[in-house]
């Protein structure tokens, strides 16, 4: 047991002095939250609804009543420039309302009066102003229709056979989870990659330097050696995960999420629950990395194997963030997928599922045990120790 501590201490000291390896461990805590903050700040800028609607109009003089209605509704109207079609295409204008000359005649005669809305639907940024303009125009149309029917002594309800009320069941926390899905993804990636460099350096690197054979000549069992290196990898990974979570906590506090109609909060209790799910994963990730880098012939080979290894568990999660599937209990036992589902539901504010947590823990521990046993066995093999 004391020898495990000796190996652990040496690996950590060695690792701390390795600038490159510390850098890779720090990329995640920094990169994730920065990307997150940037993305949401830009999106919030697009979606802000409290800004007055800016509407450019051609032919203001053709429809004074409509114009008065729009201004009462709070829209800021400006005369459209002559090259408005070009400006809409270029993204300088979001939406332009064109009122033709014969609008007044048609309106008075009770025919459908034509209006034109010039937009570019391919631009995400213009979507909100377009929708707001349409809503305003529909409102005006409905108001006029009601007045006309009443003037003829007909109930307006006859002209409206359907009345659709939209009942939106998405709680704001639920909406937030869709947008915040990238946080668990980054946390789980941090759990996979944080200790990667240490794992490779202390196994494949050890052999490449020619220090593995002399190390094995010390009176220490292979399992104690593997345990020390594994624990060192776990510690490096855990630090990365903690820093990443802290980074997101800071980022969430600074991003105007309310502007997106999203309420997200990383409270202490939620952070602890997330850690309870993610940290066991580092046991498995570290064991798998130690196993793979022991097997690999060189540092470079270990690096490319592990990069592939990282991709495999990320795939189901990436799929999940695009098309949400219905969660089944058995899925929790699949390492990484289970953690991803649990963290996602935590982010959604649904609370911890103890059965799921237990299953995910079992899945992880089984794989961890297999990896560690295989590493110890491998270190006993002459071919692995002396290279092939």
């Amino acid at each position: 047991m004391r020898l495990i501590g000796v190996v652990l201490g040496k690996e950590l000291m060695d690792h701390m002095r390795d600038k490159r390896s510390v850098m890779t461990a720090l990329i995640f805590p920094v990169l994730g939250p920065v990307m997150f903050a940037g993305m949401f700040t830009i999106m919030a800028g697009w979606m802000r609804e409290d800004r007055p609607l800016q509407l450019s109009v051609v032919g203001t003089e053709n429809a004074p009543n409509l114009i008065a209605f729009l201004e009462r509704a709070g829209a800021q109207l400006t005369p459209a420039p002559t090259d408005y079609e070009q400006q809409v295409q270029d993204g300088d204008l979001d939406v332009v309302l064109v009122i033709p000359k014969d609008y007044g005649d048609d309106f008075e005669a009770g025919r459908s009066a034509k209006l034109e809305l010039v937009v570019d639907n391919s631009r995400n940024q213009a979507r909100v102003p377009i929708r707001r303009t349409q809503r305003l125009l529909d409102g005006y149309g409905a108001q006029v229709a009601t007045l006309r029917l009443l003037a003829r002594g007909i109930s307006p309800e006859l002209a409206r056979p359907l009345h659709v009320d939209e009942v939106d069941l998405a709680t704001s926390a639920k909406m937030a989870s869709n947008a915040l899905n990238m946080i668990p993804l980054f946390l789980l990636m941090a759990a996979l990659m944080g200790g990667m460099h240490l794992a490779i350096d202390s196994t494949a690197g050890e052999r490449e330097r020619g220090s593995l054979e002399p190390l094995l000549l010390n009176p220490i069992s292979r399992s104690a050696l593997v345990a020390g290196k594994w624990l060192a990898t776990i510690i490096a990974t855990t630090v990365t995960v903690l820093l990443t979570l802290l980074g997101f906590k800071i980022a969430i506090g600074r991003v105007p999420l309310e502007d997106l109609g999203v309420r997200a909060d990383l409270g202490i209790e939620q952070m602890l629950s997330i850690l309870a799910v993610v940290l066991p994963l580092t046991l498995m990730a570290s064991a798998a990395q130690v196993l793979i880098s022991t097997f690999a012939r060189s540092f470079k080979e270990a690096q490319s194997y592990i990069q592939v290894l990282v991709m495999i568990p990320v795939l189901p999660s990436a799929f999940l963030s695009l098309s949400p599937i219905k969660t089944q209990l058995w899925m929790m036992a699949i390492p990484f997928l289970g953690q991803n589902l649990l963290v996602t539901s935590l982010m959604r504010g649904e609370g911890m599922d103890p059965m799921g947590l237990l299953l995910s823990l079992v899945g992880v521990l089984v794989v961890t045990g297999i990896c560690l046993a295989a590493t110890v066995k491998m270190l006993g093999s002459e071919r692995v120790v002396f290279g092939r």
């Binding site: 000796v6 390795d18 020619g210 054979e213 002399p214 000549l217 010390n218």
Partner: protein
């Protein structure tokens, strides 16, 4: 004391060691001489339990290597073929790590490191990081960490490989000194002169077998050659792979 009886090892199709037996006494230097590929390194690796023999036994101070590898490793100090250091650790930290793995620690360990630094004349580099060390400096650190636990038996695999003239002389002096301290020293070499200059007993290995075993005088007598070099050539069968 190290005893080897009928050791044999195959790697797939290749038989590296066919039948090697010898006895290395305390207070003496035993040389394993043979051309490259004769099976010297594999024999040594079986002695320190990194390679499991297919047949035969090895005993270190009466302890069977195969049945108690950890106890064996406590009783021997090894300078193996691979001499990698940890480049981000200082020479002292490299040696200290091995000392701790041997269960040492505290002031006793530091005193032992100082003594070894004195003995190996490496006081200037003891606090420096190992990256950028010369071959000779690296060999010194590797020797120091092999001797940190004051082993009664010392195995050196081609100890002068890659060393310059000065470091080679220092290494030879060290080997004599280790013998004078009463240790059992075994070293392997393919350099005839080195073996004849240092060894009390010579074991000549060729193609995985012991072809001659004895003091330099005994080997000269048994082959009927006056010159030790000619004696070696006659027992090995050719001078291929031997360096003068």
């Amino acid at each position: 004391m190290i005893e080897v009886t009928n050791l044999a090892k195959r790697f797939g199709e290749v038989t590296a060691v066919k039948d090697v037996s010898f006895r290395a006494a305390d207070h003496s230097v035993t040389g394993l001489l043979g051309p490259n590929g004769a099976g010297k390194t594999t024999t040594l690796r079986m002695l320190y339990a990194l390679v499991t023999p297919d047949g035969g036994h090895a005993r270190v101070d009466g302890v069977d290597v195969a049945s108690d590898p950890l106890e064996t490793r406590r009783r021997i100090g090894v300078l193996p073929d691979a001499r990698g250091l940890y480049p981000r650790l200082t020479a002292r930290e490299n040696i200290r790590y091995y000392g701790k793995l041997h269960g040492m620690g505290g002031a006793e360990l530091e005193k032992r490191i100082d003594a070894l630094a004195d003995l190996l004349e490496m006081k200037e580099i003891i606090g420096r990081r190992a990256e950028g060390f010369s071959q000779g400096e690296r060999a010194k650190v590797a020797i120091a960490r092999a001797l940190i636990h004051d082993p009664k038996n010392v195995l050196l695999d081609e100890p002068t490989n890659g060393l310059d003239v000065m470091s080679t002389r220092a290494m030879r002096e060290l080997i004599r000194r280790l013998r004078d301290e009463g240790r059992c020293v075994i070293f392997s070499s393919h350099v005839m002169q080195e073996v004849s200059a240092l060894c009390d007993r010579i074991v000549v290995v060729a193609q995985g077998r012991v072809v001659a075993d004895g003091t330099p005088d005994e080997i000269r007598q048994s082959t009927g050659k006056e010159n030790l070099e000619e004696a070696f050539v006659s027992v090995i069968g050719s001078d291929k792979g031997l360096v003068q």
